[in-house]
């Protein structure tokens, strides 16, 4: 059990609906990972850029992924192996 910093760009399939974003699936190291639940969501504002940060559960592990509102890039920031 422990946290590992990743900070790598990833591909994400997300639902954009009624002004909110819900990540559904992401691809990391050629593996397609289906998100089971979004456990925590919050918005960040850093250097005039807005980010949406999600803590998601997939395959029993927790992942922290961030969406950059300006560049539309998704970043896998951290994995927490349970």
């Amino acid at each position: 059990m422990g946290q590992t910093q990743i900070n790598e760009p990833i591909d994400v399939i997300a639902k954009f609906s009624k002004g909110s974003i819900t990540p559904l699936i992401f691809k990391y190291k050629s593996r397609v990972i289906k998100i089971e639940s979004v456990d925590l969501k919050y918005d960040l504002h850093q250097d005039k850029v807005n980010f949406s940060s999600f803590s998601v559960l997939a395959n029993g592990n927790s992942y922290k992924i961030n969406y950059n509102d300006q560049t539309h890039l998704w970043i896998l920031e951290e994995i927490f192996i349970s």
Partner: protein, 408 residues
């Protein structure tokens, strides 16, 4: 009975084990497990413990080795300040749907004025229960809070402490003293360890004892604080709610560093102090603030403390001025043992209303520092710094003393 604010309805909301609960919310595998949130450095301490960890005696300030001894399988999670601040903003957003008058007391505590929102205490309790539901629904089921409702802030805060986690205590008007008498003096916000010791020396061990001392005697011994104690002992508090949108500026700005190895070298501590003073000065300028006091604290390898603060003659945002007071404070706290951690804080912050620009020398120095800071910001961190900082690289987390202040 509160003779100042007889008809007020104040709720105090206190998030339970806030940082740890947020981390447990983010990672379902951590729920119902002892979790300790730690600082960013290797030789850190527990900055927040989950409800489950508290059961084993682990609390804020516990050393990591001690925490592992108390519960060997404790899960350690590095703190994520941006996350806690963002969730805190969501909490304020929820509170603001129920009342516009909110005082942010700290990152995980707030006072809500429900006076014109609820007609009576039971209606206020319903509102607080609705707030609790909104928190769990919108932020997460693991995010819980305790609340207290009373006709003043002092009693409301004490009430929120009385039942944790997820409690709600309502103190009806006229029952403040009965409620107060269930608590120790040290439980009250505004009665610190030093005050308790002082009171104990006077044979005052309880609020009942405190009530037996008249106002004149308390004022004679404790000066203006004596009047506060007199009111506290009677459950009286006339302090108003400071709405967050009127008082969003920090009350203090601090920087600290726990070193990977103990430090013996006074010159190195001075360099670290200068680095922190530059960083604090930059933040002061950014927020258009001036510091009226500066302090330092040293934690030695045996975990003993030294340090203290000093008033600044003319409030300042200049790193050179702050460093002058840093050195002055350091002289008063001689380095007698290896140092584990050093911290600097600038307090009693006031808004720079432009008066300082009238001081020619100050204005010149201020513009010089601002130019250097702009260059650093544009190109990279610390391109233009005092020569003695060359080669010094300290990664540390900023810390803001937000709203927390004594009630009364």
């Amino acid at each position: 009975m509160n003779k100042f604010e007889p008809n007020h309805i104040i709720a105090h909301i206190d998030m339970n084990s806030y940082f740890a609960s947020v981390e447990q919310q983010a990672r379902p595998a951590l729920r119902n497990r002892p979790v300790a949130v730690t600082g960013p450095s290797k030789r850190t301490v527990v900055v927040a413990a989950s409800v489950e960890a508290k059961y084993f005696g682990i609390k804020t300030g516990t050393q990591i080795a001690e925490a592992k001894k108390l519960y060997p399988n404790i899960v350690l999670i590095k703190s994520d300040c941006r996350r806690y601040e963002s969730i805190s903003a969501q909490l304020i957003n929820i509170f603001s749907r129920f009342t516009p008058t909110i005082e942010i007391f700290s990152i995980d505590e707030a006072f809500l004025d429900l006076t014109n929102i609820a007609q009576n205490l039971s209606q206020a309790a319903k509102i607080v229960n609705q707030i609790k539901k909104c928190i769990t629904k919108e932020i997460g089921t693991n995010i819980k809070c305790s609340a207290g409702i009373a006709n003043n802030k002092f009693i409301a805060k004490l009430a929120s402490e009385a039942k944790k986690p997820d409690g709600l205590i309502v103190v009806p008007q006229g029952k403040e003293i009965d409620f107060l008498d269930q608590f120790e003096l040290s439980d009250a916000c505004g009665i610190g360890k030093k005050s308790v010791k002082h009171l104990n020396r006077l044979n005052i061990y309880s609020f009942k004892d405190l009530r037996s001392v008249n106002q004149a005697a308390l004022t004679l011994i404790f000066k203006s604080y004596g009047l506060k104690l007199y009111h506290m002992a009677r459950g009286i508090d006339n302090s108003p709610i400071f709405p967050y949108y009127l008082s969003g500026k920090p009350k203090s700005i601090s920087r600290s560093k726990t070193f990977p190895q103990d430090i013996y070298d006074e010159d190195y501590i001075k360099r670290v102090g200068l680095f922190f003073c530059c960083d604090i000065a930059s933040e002061l300028k950014k927020q258009n603030l001036l510091a009226s006091s500066l302090g330092l604290y040293l934690r030695f390898s045996d975990f003993s403390f030294a340090g203290g603060g000093a008033a600044i003659k003319s409030p300042t945002a200049l790193s050179t001025d702050l460093f002058f007071y840093f050195k002055k404070n350091l002289e008063k706290s001689p380095i007698c043992k290896p140092i584990r951690k050093v911290g600097v804080w600038a307090g009693e912050l006031i808004t720079d209303n432009g008066q300082t620009a009238l001081l020619k020398d100050f204005d010149k120095k201020l513009r010089l520092e601002k130019t250097a800071e702009n260059i650093n910001k544009k190109f990279a961190r610390n391109i233009v710094t005092p020569a003695s900082l060359a080669g010094l690289n300290l990664e540390q987390s900023p810390s803001y003393g937000f709203q927390k202040r004594f009630i009364n």
